[in-house]
């Protein structure tokens, strides 16, 4: 279930009640998206090894102290990718040309839908992990903290993301745009299951930051 409050937060409502037409637009955009898109995902689990400020997930070596910290205590991690696919970008582009007010709502809905789709796909990893007594850390993506987005290149290659139609531009931006790549740590610690992403982020004055 896509989180309506999350959509309103993306639209800048900051907890204030939304008007009827915005609420209607949200339902209509979500319906249009859900009917049109075919979300897809990939994941592979690898052992994690640490060396200094660097961490390696299988053969995927990353220089990032923040990612290393995030994965501390994890013996394994999943490389995970998901995308709403090309159709979502088509609908966003079309809304932007036809009506910008719908376009911003569509954008927020697509972003929230991407998150909920990731949560659903991630269930599969959680179930596999649970069989082995392991729990999931939150998704940690290239671009968070000091985990540079240039790692998208290797990430996409190792996961063979072309199979789900996920690619990137010269500047390491994911295309289709409504896509996520993330490292998900697997750990025996039960309590570590949720760290709010905003708390980890350094953009303290981000307008979308959760209070």
């Amino acid at each position: 279930m896509t989180d309506r409050n999350e959509i309103l937060r993306y639209l800048g409502f900051r907890g204030k009640p939304a008007d009827e037409r915005t609420l209607q637009a949200i339902e209509s955009c979500l319906a249009e998206l859900e009917q049109a898109v075919t979300p897809r995902s990939m994941h592979r689990v690898f052992p994690v090894t640490f060396s200094g400020g660097a961490v390696a997930i299988g053969g995927f070596a990353v220089e990032s102290a923040d990612l290393a910290k995030h994965l501390s205590g994890c013996g394994e991690a999943a490389l995970f990718a998901a995308t709403l696919g090309a159709r979502a970008d088509f609908l966003l582009e079309r809304a932007a040309k036809a009506d910008m007010s719908r376009a911003v709502v569509m954008q927020a809905c697509a972003a929230a839908l991407t998150e909920s789709v990731c949560d659903e796909f991630q269930q599969e990893i959680a179930e596999e992990a649970a069989k082995r007594g392991l729990y999931l850390r939150p998704r940690y993506s290239p671009g968070y903290g000091d985990f540079p987005i240039r790692y998208q290149r290797d990430f996409l290659k190792i996961l063979e993301c072309r199979k789900i139609g996920l690619s990137m531009t010269e500047n390491c931006m994911l295309v289709p745009t409504k896509s996520v790549t993330a490292v998900i740590g697997l750990t025996k610690e039960k309590t570590s299951c949720h760290i709010a992403k905003c708390m980890e982020c350094r953009s303290a004055d981000c307008p979308f930051r959760k209070e």
């Binding site: 639209l11 800048g12 409502f13 900051r14 204030k16 939304a18 008007d19 037409r21 915005t22 637009a25 075919t38 897809r40 994941h43 592979r44 689990v45 690898f46 299988g58 053969g59 995927f60 696919g85 090309a86 159709r87 970008d89 088509f90 966003l92 582009e93 079309r94 932007a96 040309k97 036809a98 009506d99 910008m100 007010s101 376009a103 911003v104 709502v105 954008q107 671009g143 987005i149 240039r150 290797d154 290659k157 190792i158 072309r162 199979k163 789900i164 139609g165 690619s167 990137m168 531009t169 010269e170 500047n171 390491c172 931006m173 295309v175 289709p176 745009t177 953009s203 004055d205 981000c206």
Partner: protein, 787 residues
Amino acid sequence: MRILEDLGKRLLFFDGGMGTLLQENGLGPGELPELWNLSRPEIIFDIHSRYRRAGADILKTNTFGANAIKLHGSGRSAEEIIFAAVEIAKKAADGALVAMDIGPTGKLLKPLGDLAFEDAVSVFSEAAEVGKKAGADIILIETMSDTYECKAAVLAAKQTGLPVFATMVADEQGKLLTGGDLPAAVALLEGLKVDALGLNCGFGPEQMKRLVPQLLDCCSLPVILNPNAGLPRSEGGKTIFDVNPQDFSAAMEEIARDGAWILGGCCGTTPDYIAALVKRCAKIPPKPLQKKNRTVVSSFAKAMAFGEKPVLIGERINPTGKPKLKQALRGGDMDYLLREGITQQQKGAHILDVNVGLPEIDEPSLLPRAVSEIQSVVDLPLQIDTSDPRAMEAAMRIYNGKPLINSVNGKKESMEAVFPLVKKYGGAVIALTLDENGIPETAQGRYKIAEKIVKTAAEYGIEKKDILVDTLAMTISAGQENAAVTLEALRMVREKLGVFTSLGVSNISFGLPHREHINAVFFTMALQNGLDAAIVNPNSDEMMNAYFAYCALSGKDEKCMAYITRYSEQKAAAPASVQGEITLSEAVAGGLKESARAAANSLLKTTEPLEIINTELIPALDRVGRDFEQGVLFLPQLLMSAEAAKTAFEEIRASMGQEASRSKKEKIILATVKGDIHDIGKNIVKVLLENYGYDVIDLGKDVPPETVVGAAQKDGVKLVGLSALMTTTVANMADTIRLLREKLPACRVMVGGAVLTPEYAKQIGADFYGKDAMASVHYAQELFKAN
């Protein structure tokens, strides 16, 4: 090529997977398999030889990713790798054919990604040419999940003159990753004249088997199927496939009996699978190909067949008689044209005509641009409408699908220009029944020309099914027999010549008052006489009513469902659309587009346009903007108001006439910087700036610094707005500002985007940081007031 001559006489067999076997030999995850052609040739040779011994007729070279893009940074060139790969395969071939294997670039093409269509063609051309030089017998384009990239590869491969096979990867519903369906992909590939087509990868033979009927149902060419050894799953970091050679060959036998001609394997299959397959299927006689005599055009998403139901071709994207569109085209304003496209689709058009021909316009560059941009927001097939063969070719080349072409006629010159293009790029073409002697006055005369066109097309290898004849509606105000002649010719063409028909319906009423009455009745008469497609205005209720009523009456609307859906909804919606008389400022405040339009029009009867703008519109926008800034209103509401104001502006501007509306508006350039493809923030700013009367030059996204500077120089622009979303692209923003400072020191720069802060903006040299869309409006107002 002995084996290709066998095609159709016996089943042919491809080899199986390469990657799985290389992994068994130690290929690491992320390592490029193609490099092994140079470093471990003996292993590649051994794999080819094993496949040959298993009975494969065609060996795929180990060149799936051997293109300049994927090899970038590997230290090796595509050329040396392909040469080595083809040589190894030829050495192992022992009478088998060698197929130069071409996989996708791994990048998404524009407009979704950042790879330009012609750049993709160049990358594939390099690979195909080297493959040919090295001695490959066939080019196999495989695992294509995007019809557009596949088209680029096929165009490149066809240049070599070698036979071209193409296989796509679909999901279990038969959809490609980019959303297209199988009939659309088949229409495109058949149009490009590949020699065989089909599916590979994605899943195992069981799942593929379920798609075979769908594929054979629309395909007239030999079909290739190269499935995986079942579905992959990850086990301890290794990929395992769940179908064994016996089950694989059993499912493939059914596929062969259904009618596929060329069978093999993809991921997870090994020589054991191919041996089992050959053993089980070699004796099965290929099922004869069935020519599908269907007239089909397609977009990237879906195919559209003629003959089932009359097809409506939207006529609104054509500047003839449309001053607003003319003005938009001259000013390079694509948005207007795109909105016309979206509206026509919403109104029920099945195909959109695209004509941008104006005397002072460079059509060969504008038409392909229009076609490409329309395809980024409309998924209907397009009708490329031009009399300039260069514009036609440019548009056909970049079109993602099989287009409808408007038009060819019976003149030798026209046929010599158009038919080679249809042959090369594929398409269905509208044939006008006129020639060097003009338009015949009799039905018989027009029929003769249609016959000549069909015959000449056949000489080019263009089948009758790809021609739709237009028997030319001529205005009845110039001759009262005109309608009768057109309809008689239409009937003859349809019955005696056996081709589908199309008409530009509205010509019939030229010069008469209330043309839509005549148009609608003539349209109905033409439908009754067998009209298959009509170029109409989908915004005209009278035409659409005639269409829906005709379909219901002629049994072409099952249980009248289309009719009922359309008209019961309309009735229910009626009260909501009558929002009563409210003032323009109320309409803007409430974000009500239609009310704003109505209010603007009623004000225009009594008030000067400029006065409406200054005393009604701008103050209303100011109030909304203030409420937004104070947190009373939020972004969606602000933009609803902006859209309502925009509608009112359009009405007001139309009433001001061209000169007044173009005069003296301050120009502002907006661009999302190079490398950045997230442009929603820029688009929001654009709507608001336009509301406040600025002439926004929108350069789009991923815009290089030189383009920004060039555009600013050209129009003497004093304010440039730049957006960037990512930290990585803020560097490109800084570069753009630096170049602007150097070339145009007087030009001001405002910036915005998620990762920017006032400090950061200052650091990269911007004059102003806009924290939201209203902030940029205030800055522009201040700047231009001061000037």
